[in-house]
Symmetry: C2
Subunit: 465 residues, 2 copies
């Protein structure tokens, strides 16, 4: 195979590689089942990165030219794509980077590194029923804009829910958003200017980094420990810089699965008060915890904490419903921006969520999720230990385990994962600077799939071996 890659062309290398591989498969009239060069071999012979080859193979799998077989590599597909498949590819996504997992019909690879639950775990019947009920109810829910703060029926339910978490928030302090990311965007646009400095946890949520970067906000990383943010580092950063706010995941932190301890929470609030820093607490995993947990918004007595929640992780990412809690003045400014920048949320989606909160079907479904996640978490932690993986902490709930195999870098893990048809998210994605990392975020809900098991076992270093 002799591919001509033009490094000066405006066409990205990945696309050149994909196009030429496809042409090569066509022209060589390769028989179905023929094996393609390994990722490493192709990367070496054409002086491109392995991830460039992975992406190209991946696109050819998506468009039907190749097949990935568990643990053995990439092969010419049994049935080459006809016009219909080519057309489908044309209409599909061809995105690189962190949005790769958002592609439609990308189910050839197991999303072991992804940040959401499998659809099979979700409350399909209950959600579909709520949707049908709303479709037969008030026509306003089918047609009207939602009011600026969000539908009052939903905000009433959110108020009750927050009260159960011991967060005192009246209606005037609750604003619905299109998921927590939208809430973060509204906050960043309202509170921060280009050049401002903020504190973020490291490792942390990559889309928050992307957002802050897009706003040209300077991020100072605070290392995340098993107890919460590293308080010594935090104190030093607060003294040396004048950050405007701190972004934090208190419970079941993404990606480490750690939770804030009461002691750390108390000290954190003390420091924030001393330096007059606002805290933005992203609590989208709240419902994965039954009963009390340590939350800054619960402890806060001076409206210093802005609190974000979402139904994307526990109910549906498709509905785009989340919310935030802040002081009344800020809520008014955020509501104005929400309307100016998109005339608000989907009233239909808000009513569906309100209905499921009111009739108890949401509560029951997250109860089921908690039990299932707990079982999978316990099982996976045992297996990881047996396979020779090291975990950052043993989370007591939630979706994520942060783990590594000492001595194995990401490139080697990714190669192995692809051979087992497993898609990872690189640890570097969760680093503010994008620094290389051998840590992986493992989504426990996918951990018992045989592809995951094969990968985890092969990648590990059994101490008993």
């Amino acid at each position: 195979m002799n591919l001509q890659l033009d490094r000066l062309s405006p066409t990205p290398l990945v696309q050149q590689l994909t196009d030429q591989l496809q042409a090569w498969i066509e022209h060589q009239r390769l028989r179905p089942g023929a094996r393609l060069p390994s990722i490493r071999a192709l990367a070496r012979t054409h002086q491109v990165s392995p991830s460039c080859v992975i992406e190209a193979y991946d696109r050819l799998v998506a468009s039907g030219w190749l097949e990935a077989r568990h643990g053995t590599g990439f092969f010419v597909a049994e049935r080459k794509p006809g016009l219909e498949a080519a057309d489908a590819e044309h209409w599909g996504e061809a995105l690189v980077g962190s949005w790769r997992q958002f592609r439609e019909g990308h189910d050839e690879l197991l999303k072991l590194g992804c940040g959401w639950l499998p659809n099979a775990w979700r409350a399909a019947e209950e959600l579909a029923q709520a949707i049908r009920q709303v479709s037969r109810g008030n026509p306003a829910d089918l047609f009207d804009y939602s009011p600026p703060l969000g539908l009052s029926s939903l905000r009433q339910q959110l108020h009750k829910r927050l009260a159960r978490l011991d967060i005192a928030a009246g209606a005037e302090r609750i604003l619905t958003t299109q998921g927590a990311s939208h809430g973060l965007d509204l906050l960043v646009r309202t509170l921060l200017r280009s050049g401002d400095t903020v504190l973020v946890e490291n490792p942390g949520y990559y889309n928050l980094y992307n957002l802050l970067r897009a706003h040209q906000v300077r991020m100072l990383p605070v290392p995340r420990t098993v107890h919460g943010p590293d308080l010594q580092a935090l104190e030093k950063l607060l003294a040396e810089h004048r950050p405007r706010c701190l972004f934090i995941n208190s419970l079941y932190h993404n990606p480490t699965g750690t939770s804030l301890t009461p002691k750390a929470a108390y000290r954190l609030l003390e420091l924030a008060r001393e330096r007059d820093v606002r805290i933005i607490e992203d609590d989208i995993y709240a419902d994965f915890q039954e009963g009390p947990a340590t939350r800054l918004a619960t402890l806060d007595s001076e409206q210093r904490v802005i609190y974000l929640g979402s139904f994307s992780k526990t109910l549906s990412s498709s509905l785009r419903v989340g919310y935030l809690v802040a002081d009344e003045d800020l809520i008014a400014r955020l509501a104005e921006l929400k309307m100016v920048s998109g005339i608000g949320n989907s009233r239909f989606a808000e009513q569906v969520v309100a209905q499921m909160l009111a009739n108890g079907s949401y509560r029951k479904s997250v109860q089921r999720l908690r039990v299932r996640l707990g079982q999978h978490m316990a099982k996976l932690l045992g297996q990881l230990e047996g396979y020779g993986w090291q975990v950052f902490c043993e989370p007591y709930g939630g979706m994520f385990v942060w783990a590594r195999v000492p001595g194995r870098d990401f490139a080697s893990l990714e190669r192995l994962a692809l051979e087992h048809a497993v898609l990872l998210t690189p640890g570097s994605a969760f680093d503010v600077q994008g620094a290389a990392s051998d840590w992986l975020r493992i989504n426990v809900a996918y951990g018992q799939d045989q592809r995951a098991q094969a990968f985890l076992q092969h990648a590990g270093r059994p101490s008993a071996a």
Copy 2:
């Protein structure tokens, strides 16, 4: 009645007035049906603006304390609100200004000035059916994030639709948005910086003005004539300033109802080419026109025109589905921002719209709307002439008539409208500078309601009288 208004208090005057009126009604134990002072009288005795009184009365109507009776004024309600109603008010919205019409349950007043169709005109059965079908279909539509560019099934339908408008746009040039306002926000954030100068039509869409103002973009107004933007003024502004782009409604312009003529469109594109200015064409009323219309995106041969569409006006404002068409590079940047700032659209809503486009129910429903709007437009134009109103132009379709009664200012029109339980949008809202205007945007769909008829007739100056 002696109300004590404190002009130095942090509580807005409107709120003080509302609270004290409510207390007064309670303490005086006024019998149901008792008439309140006229807006003008109360404004005069307490030295506040009539619109302040209107807002306070309006809030008391919303919370159940008062009733507005057609043409006669405000009265103490038959049944004063109990705890339940007070609670509902607490959960409702108390917003002033341009978002007033977005309040829930604000149906006491006829929204003659609003920018959407009555729910009774909408395709309730077809939409509910599509929703139920999608709820029974692919679970991914219930749960998954939508891909960055939007769901491919929807984008395929949009491609076909654009082809019928003679706009050549492949998939890679179509991005779904949460309505056109969200598309405008993505564009403004991506293309403009604080301090940039742009051209906007005047009068024009107030939420665009709000958006540009929020971004600290300088707006230069181009007067809207019956043929489209005033080309002489446009040429002069292009020569004297270096605007980055021009925002335009080609068809059924909001608020004037005028449409761009082919001659004006051709010259506009010539000028834009000469000065290398981008054009952002907001075409959300496209489907109110059967057959060909003059559109810049159709004529454009160099991807200078960015085109926006939406289903909010023709199908549902609740679903939040729109789209935009731009060159491929810009689409990639917009898609990135769309994901970073909210992880995309509702996949469920996109699939519902895709389904209605595919099965023809959308096409049939807008056909019905066009016929109905056409009949109402013709009837209203005849009536306005008879009642002594002056119209800016006689639109050949769409939702809006821009009209005035020579010699009558907005304050006098608003007082009269409120007496007939009609809610107007001030002409000043459509002016870049918010300058007073005696022109009104009249939504023809509400024009035959008896409240509208009574108001229009009383406000007019019949020449035959």
